[in-house]
Every structure is written in C-alpha cells, then in structure tokens.
C-alpha cells in the first residue's frame, strides 16, 4: 500500500521540507502511524486523544475524511491524502 500524503507549509518542518511524503497502511490511522516512524512529531500535529484535531482538515482524494470514517477511513494503493490546516478564527 502506497499512499501519497500532501503536507502543508506549516508541517513541512517534520518532513525535511518535503511537500508530499509516502505512507503505508490500510486506514488513515495506520498511514499516520507509519509516517510517524520516519517523521517524528508529525502525528501529534494531526491527531489528539479524541481523533483528528478540530482545526486540521484531512482529505482522502476529494473528500473531507470527517464525512467518511475519520481516522478509521480505509485507504487503498494509489489514494491521495491531503492535509490542510483550517483557516479559521474569531
């Protein structure tokens, strides 16, 4: 399983400046675990105890994974995952 994960500017400090990295796994959670082994610190910026962080948007291909299965969303070879920080405030 080879899943491309696109990384936003603010998180490229964890990927050596790379805009996209490749992870493996059958679910989004597993892909993030796999990425953590090579890019320590990244996972904590994406998930907390309750699941995906509220102000981090993760998309599987064109869909926000919140409307799919969240971290348990299944991924398959060739899928694209995009991480984007929410643009939000008060």
């Amino acid at each position: 399983m080879s899943i491309e994960v696109r990384i936003p500017t603010i998180l490229r400090q964890y990927t050596g400046g790379e805009k996209a990295v490749v992870g493996a796994g059958g679910t989004l959670a597993e892909v993030f675990e796999d990425l953590e082994s090579r890019h320590p610190g990244l996972r904590e910026r994406l998930v907390d105890d309750k699941g995906l962080r509220r102000f981090v948007n993760v998309y599987l291909n064109d869909e926000d994974v919140r409307f799919l299965g969240g971290l348990e969303t299944s991924v398959t070879d060739g899928d694209n995952v995009t991480v984007l920080p929410a643009v939000a405030g008060g």
């Binding site: 936003p8 603010i10 995009t82 984007l84 405030g89 008060g90």
Partner: protein, 174 residues
C-alpha cells in the same frame, strides 16, 4: 528600533547573495493595490454583521497579493469564521497549480477592533501570510490593519495602499 540589514529589505532582496531566498518574516509592510483593498472592505461590509473572510493569492515567494479570492464563512457567525472545508481544498489545489500561496489571509471583526483575537492567534497556521483584519463596527469608517502571526506572536505591520503593485516595482528598480 532595529533596522533590518540592507539585504533583508524588500527592494534589495535580490542583492543578498548568501541568502537562499527572500527572508520570510523580515518584510514588515503590506503593499496592496487600491482595488484589492477596496474589494476586501466591500466584502466585509456586504457580509456584516457576520464575519467575512478570504485570501489574496500571489506567486509563491513574491509577497505580491494579486488575486483576490473571497471565501464563504462556513460558520456564518458574527464572532467566528472558518473557510468551508471543500472550498479550502479547491483553493489550495488551485494555488498549487498556479504556484501561488496565500499572501494575505483576511477576515472582518464586526463589533470589535481590527486586531487579532485570542482565537485568531491560536488558530493562525500560515506563518508566511499577512493577516489582514478589517473592522466594520463603524458604519462610515473602516479599520484596515495587517499583522504577522507566528508561533502565537503578533506583530503589526504598516499597510501601504498603492494604485498598482507594478508602479511600486518600477519606482524601486535600479
């Protein structure tokens, strides 16, 4: 007051041979053309009393806000804004395809001053952007201010409104 070394000033960035590119946070002025400025204010007025939001995209690394992109405030709230999730993906894909970045991220405050709220500061995740705040609390006069928000630190910067960005470039060339 510390003056930036000449090589970090906007007009002479290219003369700074040892630096790998324009320094991301050394530029302390937002240069914006009048039409874009007016469009941001008009959007803020139109959505009042809800907060309005959007970006002005520009070529990556250029620090030139050139393409005005008003966004929907998915929160439709007078005290909160958030880009719609699907629109956000479309926006970033489009910017990627055009080699752009969000040079300006703007939103309005409709009852308070044009200064980043605690929420704005804690959620700011574009350290390279000029965060523009417009207040529409007064019906006849608007406040338009710009800030950097990096690691929870806010620094205000000068806003310089020009007729056209190209005129400024012509004026500082050579």
């Amino acid at each position: 007051m510390v003056t930036a070394p000449a090589c970090q000033q906007r007009s002479t960035v290219r003369a700074c041979g040892e630096m790998p590119g324009p320094p991301p946070y050394a530029v302390r002025v937002l240069l914006i053309d009048k039409a874009t400025y007016d469009a941001i204010v008009a959007h803020a007025r139109r959505d009042h009393p809800d907060e309005a939001c959007g970006v002005v995209a520009g070529l990556a690394g250029s620090d030139r806000p050139e393409r005005f992109v008003p966004m929907v405030n998915a929160a439709r709230s007078p005290t909160f804004y958030e880009f719609d999730s699907h629109d956000l993906l479309s926006l970033y894909r489009e910017m990627d395809a055009r080699d752009e970045e969000p040079v300006v991220v703007y939103h309005s405050h409709t009852a308070t001053e044009a200064y980043p709220s605690r929420t704005d500061i804690s959620l700011a995740q574009e350290p390279g952007a000029h965060y523009v705040l417009v207040s529409t609390r007064e019906p006849d006069t608007e406040e338009f201010r710009s800030f950097r928000i990096v690691d929870g630190e806010v620094s205000e910067e000068e806003v310089r409104v020009v007729a056209a960005l190209d005129e400024v470039d012509a004026g500082t060339a050579g």
